[in-house]
Symmetry: C2
């Protein structure tokens, strides 16, 4: 990514700005509720599937090395947000799952997210908001490294 902020900024930056806004809002909400979780941990935590995720998948999703995600999961585990369980499908693997305390994070995040989305909606109007969501979902089909067989 390298582009000067011209009069018509590229879509990458345009996507990034509201993303980061949302992220900051959620992090602030978590902090306000006493969960002082670092950003890198939150970013990995966010990608954990409710049914459990493998380390390597999380590493792919977050574009980090296995070692890095391993150490982040160590910290999340030590803080009590996740647990490592054996994967019944593969004796080598372990499933990272969310604990009750981890679910607290989600329950705090959800209203924070909705609040930001509501603020956006009142700025954009309902039509454009739902357009935004549906367009982004369509875009995900060709840009999500996990969801696309491409690459």
């Amino acid at each position: 990514m390298a582009d000067t902020p011209a009069e018509d900024p590229n879509l990458g930056l345009l996507l990034f700005i509201p993303y980061r806004f949302m992220e900051s809002a959620v992090m602030a909400a978590l902090r306000a509720h006493g969960h002082d979780i670092p950003l890198n941990q939150a970013r990995v935590f966010q990608r954990i599937d409710p049914a459990g995720s493998r380390l390597a998948d999380l590493a792919d999703a977050a574009q980090l090395s296995k070692q890095t995600v391993g150490s982040i999961i160590d910290q999340l585990e030590k803080a009590g947000y996740v647990r490592r369980e054996p994967d019944p499908e593969d004796a080598r693997a372990r499933l990272v799952t969310i604990t009750a305390k981890g679910h607290e994070l989600i329950e705090i995040s959800l209203p924070a997210v909705r609040q930001v989305e509501a603020a956006w909606e009142s700025h954009l109007g309902p039509t454009r908001t739902s357009q935004l969501r549906s367009i982004l979902k369509a875009l995900r089909e060709i840009t999500d490294p996990l969801a696309t067989p491409v690459r």
Copy 2:
């Protein structure tokens, strides 16, 4: 940011996924042209205004401390991509400006960005693509920490 990837993911993640895709594409293009620039440097570089930017503004935009941005600018400067010039308006400040070599990065990035945008457009269609852009521009008005359309 902390939210399980439910069936209807929050707008934050939905924004992030294509953003990351674009970023990776640009970084790959830069690497292919022999510019092996780290991601954190690229992210700061991207925010440099063509007319020159101050360190503190870059720090705000990137949500990093002044010291961190200072050290990143050190590296960009050492690599020849930017230069520090005195700010004629303020003797305390210095303007980070882009060198000729730095403009190479931009000239490589631009077609890479356009290529990704074209791929998106062929998936979304022209109408939704322009809707996306205009919606994101509207969103920027309330989410950009550097919310200064006019200064």
